[in-house]
């Protein structure tokens, strides 16, 4: 793998620790806009350059949704512009702006419909940074709903960012270690989760640690609510999501061993009780049709 690909992979992995995948995708689109404006190249080389960047983004470890799908849409539009000999920097910038608007409006609609899933008296479990934390929970608070959040502590960076958002929005919360959740099943009412992608074989790609929590909540019959934009429907299977395995040598008390960690968890969709998209709640049954409709666009 080349050096540039490695650098971008690492940057994306770092960013999704503190921003939702949608926010990271927005940062990606903004970065593309600036990069294209600053790029010095002739119009005839423009397609090549953009495809180079688009391919790099589509090959990240893990795959970055919804940006991955937005790149597929971009590729298609670029191809069409090129065929009509209308490909200029300006036309690419216009496409990127329209992709940004789409991402924003999808998010707005999902936040609006999603915040209705929070009701007075709710005690909601959250784990990692996703749209539900960045936008949906603050939105419910603004609407005057009285609820409490149970934050499952991860690393200081991710949990720190969650606490900052909750504190800024004056949302009541309690923080516990992930393994302490067992003591709260009498009190908690819901688990809110986001995902980085929904694979075409119906697996969710989530932050590390999410799988345990979902399994535990499923066993204890706690409703699990997934917030998912349709732009996160991946056309790849779970095995092809470029989930990164990091291994390094460690040592304890003179014992040397290989320590391995994966960048993401994989969770079966069937464990989820409610799937909320910008198109409203969808059932597993009508998911296939919706996916086909979405994938056709790419």
């Amino acid at each position: 793998m080349n050096k540039d690909q490695n650098t971008i992979d690492k940057l994306f992995r770092d960013l999704i620790r503190v921003y939702s995948t949608s926010a990271t995708s927005m940062i990606g689109l903004d970065s593309m806009l600036i990069a294209i404006k600053e790029l010095v190249c002739e119009d005839k080389d423009l397609e090549n350059e953009i495809m180079k960047l688009s391919n790099t983004i589509k090959n990240t470890q893990p795959r970055m949704f919804p940006l991955d799908n937005l790149m597929l849409i971009l590729d298609k539009k670029i191809q069409s512009l090129n065929n009509n000999q209308q490909l200029t920097k300006q036309s690419v910038l216009t496409i990127l702006h329209s992709l940004k608007s789409r991402l924003e409006s999808d998010l707005k609609i999902m936040v609006k419909s999603g915040s209705e899933w929070i009701r007075d008296g709710d005690f909601i479990v959250i784990h990692s940074i996703e749209e539900n934390i960045e936008h949906l929970i603050p939105e419910a608070k603004k609407r005057g709903i009285k609820f409490k959040i149970l934050v499952l502590k991860q690393d200081i960076l991710t949990t720190g960012r969650i606490l900052k958002i909750l504190d800024e929005n004056q949302i009541d919360f309690e923080v516990i270690p992930e393994y302490d959740l067992i003591h709260y099943f009498d009190e908690i009412t819901k688990l809110f989760m986001g995902t980085q992608a929904l694979t075409n074989d119906n697996f969710l790609v989530c932050d590390p640690g999410t799988s345990n929590i979902v399994s535990e909540c499923h066993i204890h019959k706690i409703p699990i609510i997934l917030f998912l934009k349709t732009l996160k429907f991946s056309h790849y299977p779970a095995a092809d999501q470029n989930i990164r395995k990091n291994s390094f040598q460690d040592e304890h008390d003179g014992i040397e061993y290989t320590f391995s960690i994966h960048s993401n968890d994989i969770i079966k969709l069937e464990l989820i009780n409610h799937i909320i998209t910008e198109k409203g709640e969808i059932t597993r049954e009508n998911l296939t049709a919706l996916r086909e409709q979405m994938v056709a666009e790419y």
Binding site: T7, L11, D14, D30
Partner: protein, 448 residues
């Protein structure tokens, strides 16, 4: 044993311990003081009733300390601590990173300007503590070689610090002990330092023109820059930013500098200005003094106190007078020889030994030479200051900022060896000292 011999022996032992980092600098200096007190070479009390068996007064350790220098350092450390707590430095560093837009030449120039200014008005160690991690993150993320940028900032920090009274410990010591004002430093040290800054920057660029070439034809690299800036904004921007504290801190820093500049009118010593402004800043901002005092570099202050006592003892027992009479008197009264020897000796010695004890030792020697040659005016002080500050770039151990920066870089996975540092540092020191010599020669020609 004779007080003179014990003083020399203890001083040399302490110097060896400091140079080879056998123990902490402050511990070494205070151990030396303890030995002198225990062997009754110096007294722990105020003089008058304490005498040696021969009936002579013992020098009082307390009276040998230069409180003016300690107050100036302590006061500036308080002001810097408050500004650091406000998040001001983080904001400045992130803004600079954004302004560079990932362009290598802009990274070199803008960071160098900020490093030089920060080093001139704050201390060099604080400056590199803020700049080095950021420049490593930025350059590594862009696929550039962080080593070159780290080296450039260390070198620039030592050059910038030489420009003002408060920029580098040797200047603080010279200014306080000799009674030179902030303006005298600014007007006498500022011009050569500005020239040296630009020449060195040009030299660094010429040495690696390819490295600093702008990348504007690689879309993937341009994309990476923007992602990277966002990451830096988050990583470094999560530090608490306290805007009211930034404003108050800047106002007090401005007043402090104003008082330094108007010293000839107010007749307030720099130490009094710094310590008063520092404590008023804490008072007006209601900053937690415990937190601020934790940030003060007590070991540095203790090191200074210990060294003042050790050198004071050498002075009391006429060792300094002996060095001046027997070594520097052979230079005669030729101003060119005296000034250039002081500058180059200071420069070379400071490259291999700690420049703080060296400066403290040299001050009484230069006072004696100056006493014999009043026509030299303050030229020998500028020669000492230029040599001691610029020589710090010769080796890794030449200045505290070098050691701190190399440590930060190593932690971040950027290893810089003694030889790698010296390859660039020694050449730049030679160029800097050469420019400083030209400046001093011009000044001598104007006087004589």
């Amino acid at each position: 044993m004779d007080g003179m011999l014990i003083s020399i022996f203890v001083f040399l032992m302490v110097y060896v311990a400091i140079t080879f980092e056998i123990v902490n600098k402050a511990v070494a200096a205070f151990s030396g003081v303890a030995i002198l007190v225990l062997l009754k070479v110096i007294s722990p009390h105020i003089p008058s009733s304490h005498t040696t068996s021969g009936g002579h007064h013992l020098p009082s350790a307390i009276m040998l300390i230069d409180y003016e220098t300690i107050m100036l350092l302590f006061g500036m450390m308080i002001i810097v601590s408050v500004l650091k707590e406000s998040g001001l430095f983080t904001i400045v560093a992130i803004k600079i990173a954004e302004l560079t837009r990932g362009k290598p030449i802009k990274i070199l120039v803008l960071f160098s300007v900020v490093t030089a200014i920060m080093s001139a008005f704050l201390d060099n160690v604080t400056t590199v503590l803020i700049i080095i991690p950021l420049i490593i993150e930025l350059t590594r993320g862009l696929g550039l070689n962080p080593k070159k940028y780290v080296l450039s900032q260390i070198i620039i920090s030592n050059i910038g610090g030489a420009g003002t009274l408060i920029g580098d410990p040797p200047n603080v010591i010279i200014g306080s002990k000799v009674g030179l004002t902030f303006n005298q430093f600014l007007f006498n040290m500022g011009p050569p330092i500005i020239v040296i800054f630009f020449v060195v920057l040009l030299f660094i660029w010429l040495m690696d023109k390819e490295e600093y070439k702008t990348i504007d034809n690689n879309i993937v690299k341009l994309f990476t820059v923007n992602l990277l800036l966002e990451k830096i904004r988050y990583d470094f921007g999560t530090a608490r930013i306290n805007k009211p504290l930034i404003i108050k801190g800047l106002v007090f820093l401005f007043i402090t500098i104003l008082l330094f500049i108007t010293q000839t009118i107010t007749h307030l010593p720099p130490g009094v200005i710094a310590i008063s402004m520092g404590i008023f800043l804490v008072l007006f901002t209601k900053t937690n003094i415990e937190n601020i005092l934790e940030e003060v570099e007590w070991t540095t202050l203790m090191f200074f106190v210990g060294l003042f006592i050790l050198v004071g003892s050498l002075e009391h027992y006429h060792v300094i007078q002996w060095i001046a009479d027997n070594i520097f008197s052979s230079l005669g009264n030729n101003p060119y020889v005296n000034v250039l020897v002081v500058q180059w000796v200071s420069g070379i010695v400071s490259g291999f030994l700690d420049n703080i004890p060296f400066t403290i030792t040299m001050i009484p020697i230069i006072e004696i030479i100056n006493g014999a040659n009043p026509e030299f005016q303050n030229l020998l002080w500028w020669a000492l200051a230029l040599g001691a500050c610029l020589g710090g770039n010769i080796t890794i151990i030449g200045a505290s900022a070098n050691i701190v920066s190399i440590g930060i870089a190593k932690k971040a996975g950027v290893s810089i060896s003694f030889i790698e540092f010296m390859k660039l540092g020694a050449v730049i020191s030679f160029i800097s000292l050469l420019i400083a010599s030209l400046y001093l020669i011009i000044r001598i020609n104007l006087i004589f």
